[in-house]
Structures are given as structure tokens and as C-alpha cells.
């Protein structure tokens, strides 16, 4: 009732409004660029337009690139740490409730084990699946191998530079270092055999009843090596005491879950994210016609940041999984 009463009162204001923002941007532009303002009125020269377009384009390129770099290096760590916190809690509950997975088939993205490397100070919850998107949350277990801690060879992938870079320091491991894996069946302690790069011979076959853990990440060379992981590096570790592995695990994984592979399946999602960004831009343009700039800023910036964040996460899925 009250609403219907108020409405007539509000209408004149809303009617008047469109004129105000129309005037305001003009004035603001004038304020911001005092120099062009005094120039005689007339069509802006072609040099003017070109300069403005170029400058805006470069700004956009800079924003997009820097945002992305920032998310890969810094913002991503935040989300990865949060994901780890949640996964840790979940795994703890699962272990306590004896409901942690033992394989052979585990839903992708579920926490399966806690990986601890004391010498490097790494403590990460390993999730199931090695697609680029799965590795955003933490190291991922390759699905066609046994779970860490079980008899046979288990392979775990981890990111080297982005999203918390859990495996960044992996190449610093030495033979004899210990890796501890806590899974559904118990704790397994692996001893590192060594770091293996392209051309090195594969380690000897696993002894019967033993287990092997192969950690996989990437590394770069040179001054920018820390942020340019381009070749795959392996760390093999063996244990003599491993737990039995149930049969029936898949014999192959999709291409997107192999080392340095990308997941092209994220393209439609990316299109959706970009469309939303576009919609947001149009929304901002429209809103500036009606609302004050401050209001538009307040409303639009969180949306813009959230959308950019989400879009970058999707872009990450299209990039090689070990970055």
C-alpha cells in the first residue's frame, strides 16, 4: 500500500534524472582534461581520435595482462589456500569417518590424501584428477594410476608457478628425502629416489608389494625460471610398505589430464564469462546515464572483479595444467 502511495511522489524525480547524468559526464570530462577544454569547438582532429583509441587499447591490454599475471601469481594463491583449507577439513572428516576413498574410481575433485614433504615444508591435500581445472585446488592424482600409498605406481601432478605453486620447489628434493602420504588406508612413507628430467632413464620397476609415488611438475631455466615453467620434471619416490589396491581402475585418462595438457572443454564456459563481462560493460554504460558515477563504481566494481576472477579461472583451464 505504501509503495503505491510513494510511487507518484518518486516519479518526477526519476523523470528529471536522465538529464543530470547527461550533463555530469560532460562536466567531469571537462574537469579531468582541462587542456582540451579551452580549445575552439569543432570536430576533434584525426590525430586526437587515433591517440585516444591507441591509449585506451594499451590501457586495456595492460589491465588484462597485469590482472591475469596478478591472479596467476598472487590472487590465485588466495583461492588455492582457501580450497586447501576446505579440502583439508573434508579429508579430515572422511578419514575420521573411515569414508575416505580407496579407489578404484573416485569422483573427480574429491580429496584423496594428504601429501607432506617435511624437507620442503609442503603440506597439500591431493585431489582426484589432473585436468587443468582440478589442479587449481591443489596437487592432483592421475586417475589411471593407483592412489598414493597403494601397491603400484601412483602419479601426482602439481602446479609449478601459479595458483599457490604447490610443487614449485620440487626440483630441490634430494635422494633420501622423505615424502609422507596419509590416505584412507593409512600412512605411507616414501623415500625419494631422485629428480628425473627428460633423457634420464626411468627408475627400476617397483618391487613386488611395494609402492612408488611419482610427483610431476614443471620447471624453467634461466633468470625467469621461477615464473617460466616449460619442461616437465619428475620426482620418483619408493616405499616398501604399501597398501593393496582394488582392481578396476580406468586404463586411460582423457587427453586433458595428461602432463602439460589443456582442457579445451572450457571454451563454452569462457564464452559465457566473456559475454557476462560484455553485459556488465553495457550495464555500466547504461547505469552511468541514470546514476551517479560513485554509485556505479560501488555497484560495478565488485561485479567486475568477481567476473574477471571467474573468467581467469576459466582461462586457466585452457592453459597447460602444470604451470
Amino acid at each position: 500500500m505504501t509503495v503505491t502511495l510513494e510511487k507518484p511522489a518518486g516519479r518526477p524525480r526519476s523523470l528529471r534524472r536522465p538529464q543530470l547524468p547527461g550533463a555530469r559526464p560532460g562536466r567531469r570530462q571537462a574537469d579531468r582534461r582541462p587542456r582540451p577544454a579551452p580549445r575552439p569547438a569543432g570536430p576533434p582532429s584525426s590525430t586526437d581520435t587515433a591517440a585516444s583509441v591507441l591509449s585506451t587499447s594499451f590501457t586495456m591490454i595492460a589491465i588484462v595482462c597485469l590482472w591475469m599475471a596478478a591472479q596467476l601469481l598472487f590472487l590465485g594463491s588466495i583461492s588455492q589456500q582457501r580450497a586447501q583449507d576446505l579440502l583439508y577439513g573434508e579429508l579430515r572428516t572422511d578419514l575420521a569417518g573411515a569414508t575416505a576413498p580407496v579407489g578404484p574410481v573416485v569422483p573427480v575433485g574429491d580429496p584423496i590424501a594428504l601429501l607432506t614433504i617435511p624437507s620442503l615444508g609442503i603440506e597439500q591435500v591431493v585431489v582426484e584428477g589432473t585436468a587443468s581445472g582440478d589442479l587449481l585446488a591443489g596437487p592432483g592424482h592421475r586417475r589411471d594410476t593407483v592412489l598414493p600409498g597403494q601397491v603400484g605406481t601412483s602419479v601426482v601432478y602439481g602446479r609449478a608457478a601459479s595458483y599457490g605453486a604447490p610443487f614449485a620447489d620440487l626440483p630441490d628434493l634430494h635422494a633420501g628425502d622423505e615424502i609422507e602420504v596419509t590416505g584412507a588406508q593409512g600412512v605411507a612413507t616414501y623415500t625419494v629416489l631422485g629428480v628425473r628430467r627428460a633423457g634420464d632413464p626411468l627408475p627400476q620397476p617397483v618391487v613386488e608389494g611395494g609402492g612408488r609415488l611419482t610427483l610431476v611438475t614443471a620447471e624453467g631455466a634461466g633468470r625467469l625460471g621461477a615464473i617460466a615453467p616449460e619442461s616437465v620434471v619428475y620426482v620418483d619416490a619408493d616405499t616398501t610398505k604399501a597398501y593393496p589396491a582394488p582392481p578396476g581402475r580406468p586404463s586411460v585418462v582423457p587427453d586433458s589430464e595428461k602432463a602439460m595438457a589443456a582442457d579445451a572443454g572450457a571454451l563454452p564456459l569462457l564464452a559465457l564469462c566473456l559475454a557476462l563481462l560484455l553485459a556488465l560493460t553495457l550495464g555500466v554504460v547504461a547505469a552511468r546515464q541514470r546514476w551517479s558515477t560513485a554509485l556505479v563504481w560501488v555497484v560495478a566494481s565488485p561485479l567486475a572483479i568477481a567476473l574477471s576472477w571467474a573468467s581467469t579461472d576459466v582461462v586457466m583451464r585452457l592453459l597447460p595444467n602444470l604451470i
Binding site: 591507441l54 591509449s55 585506451t56 595482462c65 597485469l66 605406481t153 618391487v207 582392481p247
Partner: protein, 880 residues
Amino acid sequence: MRRALALALLVIGLAVPAAAGARPVVGGGFEGSRGSGASAPSHLDRRTARAGAPSHLDRRTAKSGWSETKTLSRKFVQADGSTYSFPSHTVTVTADETTNLRGRQRILIRWKGAQPSGGRASNPYGENGLNQEYPVVVMQCRGVDDLSLPAKKQLRPETCWTASVVQRSQITRSEGEASWTHDLAAAPEDKGRITGLDPFPTAEECPAADISPYFTKLTPFATAKGETFVACDADHMPPEAAVDAAFPPAEIAAFTDTDGTGSVQFEVRTDVENESLGCSDKVACSIVVIPIVGLSCDQPSTPMTISDQACRKGGRFPAGSSNFANEGVDQAASPALWWAPSNWQNRFSIPITFGLPPDTCDLLDPRPPTGFYGSELLAQAALQWAPAYCLNKQRFKFQLNQMPDIAGWNLMENGGGVAAEVSSEHPRSGTDPIGYAPTAVTGFAIGYQIDKPDNAGEYTDLRLNGRLLAKLLTQSYLGSDLGRAHPGIGDNPLAIMSDPEFIKLNPGLSPNAQEAGATVLSLSNSSDVIEQLTDYIAHDQAAMAFIHGKKDPWGMVVNPKYKNIDVPRADWPMLDTYVPETQNTCRQDNPAVYFSQLAAPVSTMRDIADALLDSWPNVQTRCEKDLGTGLYKLGRIDRQSYGSRFMLGIVSLGDADRYGLRAAALEAKPGTYVEPDSRSLAAAVQLADQRKKYHPFALDQGDVRRSGAAYPGTMVVYTAARLQNLAKDDAAKVAQFIRISTTEGQKTGSGNGELPGGFLPITRTGPTAKLFDAAQETADAIEAQHTTGPAPTDGPDAGGSDGGSVAPPPGVPDEEEPSTEPVPSAAPSAPPTAVSMPATEPVGSELAGGLLPLLILLGAVGCVAATALRVAAPVVRRRG
């Protein structure tokens, strides 16, 4: 202009006959092939010629068929001592299969030249067939007609099986019903008042038998073990003849049409089904066919007694008439006196032999069996194949354990079984590559048992299309008025017989709905058969439109619970939840989902075949009150009565052939209906192609729908086994089985090791040659067990690619190969000495390496450039 017109006329002239020639049902062509190969005479009418035809692949008529001709006539000795003969009948009886029969197998018996029957009964089996005139009695008897054999192995009326006492004995008949006492062929001692057994049973044993002045003639039954049942009342009959016995009566008083022809599918019983009769591979038996031409009568006394007159009666029903009311008939022309010597001497005795019983291998071969697990489609073949393995010491002991295809597959994959019998590709869950070897070509059929209205015999031309099957499977028929209140489909037909689409396709059937007509008896568990059937539906546009909710042209809609159900699928779920609300106390006490009671799927196709044999639908809607507890209970409805049978079920072609079940023609090309026979199966095999070595052949239902000659239910059964990590002796057994079953096992016949009917032989040449080659190839690979053999799914082209420069296959999976991993069944693991290992392959990505530096660089450049432009632009302008 004129030339164009002439050309057009020519084209039309050529096209019209061609179209007309293409018109008939494809299965129709099978009659021709059957007629030429078999002794089926061309002047038999179409109905009888077709009667056994559907689904009978390569019948061995020429080899194991049987035929005999006799001249029968009825004679009266007149009062003056002269003999009067009725016109004689030259009767020819043929049987299509007589050797190596199995329990419940149905064989087709046909005759021509017989006296036309009258007073046709709606149910000709057992005692229900007694009230007919001039029928042809067909029954199974122990012993054979061979005078050189000892009396024990001879055929006598006492060794012929009947399921009731009135079929064999005449007890306390009045004189007017004692025509047998004047039988011309009877010995004088058989013409007395009480005859049939000497000494005659005492009054204590048979109180009703000897009551003066009534006449009694007993035909005792002698069991295989030598026991004699005097057959004077129901208590003195063998146990298998009890009321509501496990099997319905098989003996039949069959009807001869007015042109003197007739046919019947006679079900034979072994000692497993009927121990008293006791026929087996060791005890010879016969099928006795007695065309009743009427009793021959001896010289009457003057004046004629009532029994003299009774003997001379010639029937009260005109030829071809029906006897719906089950009225009494003239005894002299009825089947009840089949044992009377003048009838008995007219018999055709068809000697039959039985195959080895299913448990032969268990009894004769003490070796442990090697189990193959899976498809029921192979059941009939395995029954004949198994003795060829276990009775030959050079071979292993083969055993087929029937289970859902996927269960057999899983057993094979995890080492529980050496090989699986499957009929489609299954996803691998283990690491070992699997090879598929084609072993048999067969398939499924929609079996049916449908009677034409007005006692006109069985319907033999059923045609079904994808939409009708979809309607049946999606439970879109209402069944009865109980289904009317089902939300959303209340206006649908009650059952398929009242569906206008079905009536249009199969005209001339009774449109009276029965609950059994609302469903097709199907499998409750997962099966490749269901997958193929639903795949067939999935390729039928009309059927899919129906499933997606479009009304059919007559306004029928899909059951909303099944709307948009995913097909193809290997198991068919029961999704409906509708519980009818009714005043019926029984249903109120036992609330149940009505449509699930109608469908009531079973777990094996053999059960479906049995249900069809007995025409006993598995519809569970019968309500009974248990008088003991006063509680209501639901159960299976009664067997359907003859004359109004209607039942559909999914059966294997092997079962359909063995038990003489009719198979529906399925729509292939729109408007073309294809029956399963050797030609349509071969056409389907020709369409199937193998995608990869050791893989199965895929039959695309889309191709089937285009070809118009291929039977959509064709399925190839494969022996699937691991190509790696199978123990060596097991691998040798599997390879041996594949080789033997694709060579020796493809010889059609009914003997041990031969291929039964319902299967298309796989041969070196012809359309099945590719299957033969694939089988040999796979057998070699299975036997070889190459450890580094072909890994069909992980080829060198399987590396990841992200548009950039992603590398060759990662080196990691190599070391994950099971060869380095202790598999429980694997041979001793790697020796402790160092093995030279291959080098790690380089895997890398320039994109991964360059991305971050590039981003930062670009960002920096962008910042600098933008700033520079901002700063520089006014400067430039001012100068300008």
C-alpha cells in the same frame, strides 16, 4: 516433345513393376527357400506353409525330417456278411525334425489327405480336445514300431502318454457309448463288458470300474520303470498326470481343414519333464499320429443293438464346424478311442531320438569345467557344443554360465572367468586389452502367441514397428480400466490389440483388450539384447517422437514417467508409480504399482520362452483370497485359454527355433517388415563393420533402417578374453574354443558340437567371412598373450594437444604399464637384477614457459605506451 513423353512413359513402365516387385514382406521370400529345400509341398495352403516358418533358420528337414504315406479307410461288416468300405484317405504325415531332440522342443508335424474334422474345440490339448470328430491325435509314446525289437521296446497304447484318465479309459459307459465292443479289428476277448487288464482290478482298487451293466475299457499306463497304473480313475494315474501339473498337456487332437491338411507343433518331453514316460537319449520313443477315420465295425446282430448303432455313427458336426459349447460327439468318430485296434492300426509312428541331457558333461567328465560367462543368446548352441568338448579328452571341458552380459564381462576382466560371451562392445575398466572373437550369429526376436478370432487358428504374420515396441516398453497402454485414472494417459488404448496402429498393421485380430496385451515380457536385468532393442527404437523417428511426448496420429501419448527416457540402454527400468484407487478389497489390501504388475519382467529369456510355450503371461494381477488365513494375495494370472491367446515376449532366436515360437517381423525400411531368417541375418551381418582389430562388429541400426533386407534383431555373440595377463593354459583353452566353435561348431545340425537352428553359420566365404577371419585373428592374439602387444586405446597419437606445442606422449604412463606392477595372477615379477630402463621422454610446453613473462611484459608495455600517449598527445597537438 513427343520423344520426352515416350521417355517418361518408358520410365513409368519400368518403375511400376519394379515397385510392385519390391512390395512384399521380405520374410515372405523365405517361404520359397523353405519350400524348395524342405519337403513342404507347394499345395499346402499359405497358413500351414508358414506355420513353422518364422524364425526357423536352415531347418534340417532334408536330413532329419520324416515322412510316410498310408491309405486309411473305415469298413463296416454288414448284417449279411458283406463288407462296406468308405472312401479311403491317402494320408501323408511329415515331421520336420526327429533326431537329437531336447526337452520341450516343438517339432512341426503336418499332414494332408486326412478326413476333414468337425466340431472343432477351442482348446485341442489333453482332455479338452476329446469332443471333436475326425481329428488327428498326436501323442508321445515310449518305444518304437519295430517288430524285431523285444516287446519291452515296442510301442503299445499302454506306453502312450495322456494327461488325464478320460483320454485313455472308458469307464462305466452305457451300451450306447460302448462302440468299441464292436470294433472290427479287436480280438474277441476285447469285446467284453470289462476289458483292458487281466486280471481286472478289484472293486476295492477301482470301485467305479466294474458296475454291471455298464461297460468299461481300461488302457493302463506302463511307466519306464515297469510300474503299471491301471488308469481307472485320477488316483490311478502317473504323478505327472495330476491336475495342475507343472507342464500343460502336450498331446493334442488336432483339427484337419476341409481340404484335408493340417499341422501342429508338437512339444516333446524327456524324462526330465516326464519321468513316467521316461524318454531320453537311451530310451527310444515315438510320436504317434493317428488320423481318426471312425471305428470299423463287425457284423451286427439283427436287429442292431444300441452299441452296433453307436459304432456305425458318422458324426454330428459338419466338416469345418466348431464346437464352442463343448457338446458331446459321436464316440465312433471321436479321439477318445484312439487305442481301439482299428484306430491304432492306422497310426503313423515317427521314431524320435533325444540329444544328450544338459547335465551330460557333469556326469561323464570328472574334470573341472572351464567357465565362459555371459550371453544367454548362446544357450542353445552351448547345449549342443558342450558334449563335443567334455567327451573328447583332447579338449577342455567347456561350460557356459549364463548371466547378464555385463556381469560376465566384469568377471572376465577381473580374472574371475577366462572369457566372456557378450554381444556388444563393453567399456574396459581394467588395464588389459581385450579381444573379441565372433562366435555365433543369432539375435533376438519378439516372440508371440496369438490366436485368430472365431477359432480360426494361430496368427502367423505378426508385424511390429519401433513405435509399437516403444509404446509397449514405456508402459503407455492402460491394461484395463484400472489404468484409466493414470495421470496424463487416460485416453490411451487399453492394450496393443485395441491400438489403431496395431490393427492397421495386423488386421483381422480380435480387438478385445487383455492385460497381457499391454506389455511385452522383457528382461529385468541388464542385457545386450535390451540395448539392441532400444537402439532399434532410437533409430525410429516416429518412435522417438512418441517418446519425446508427441502424440501418435491416433492421439496416444507416452506414459509421462517414461517421457524422454534415454535410449539405447542396456536395462529397462520400471519407472511408473501409479497405484490405482479402487473399491476392490484385494487391491486395497495389496497396493501395488499396476503397470509394474503388468510388465513383471523376468531374469532370463528362457523364462520368457517357457511363458510363451505355455501361453502363460507373467502378469501379476490375479487376486486370490487364501481361505486359511483370510488374507488376499496377488499372483500370476491363469494360462490363457486357447482361441484367445495373446502374448508377446522377447526371446532369443535359438530358443524361438528350438521351441517353435513364432517371431514377429520388425519394420526395417519404413513399410518393409523383416522376419528373422538366414537371409535377413546375413544381410545384417553384411552391414556390420569392425572399427578396429580385435574389436566387435558394430551393427548400425541406421543402416538397417536403410537396407530393408536386414533383420534389426541380428546380434553377433563374441567370445571376449584378455589379450594380456591371461594364464597360458586358459589362453590356450579360449583359443581352442574359438577355433572349434567357428569351424566344426558352425555345421548346422542337431548333433553334438553342431550348430542348432536360430543361428547363422559363420563360414570361410560369404557374408560371414569377415567374422570368421576376425575370430581366427583374435584366437591367435589370445593364445599369444603378447605382453607388449597392441594396446588398442593408447596409441602414439594419444598425446595431449592444447593448440600449442604439447609434446609426444608423456613418458610417465609407460612405467605405469601393468607389466611392472604385481598383478595377483601375473607371472613372477621382475628379477632383482637391474633392468635397463628407457629414457624419460621430454614433455614441455613453450606456452607454459612463456606465458607469465609474456603477460608481465605486455602489461608493462601497455602501461608505458598508454602513459606515453596521454602525455605526448597534447604536446603533439600544441605543436600542430
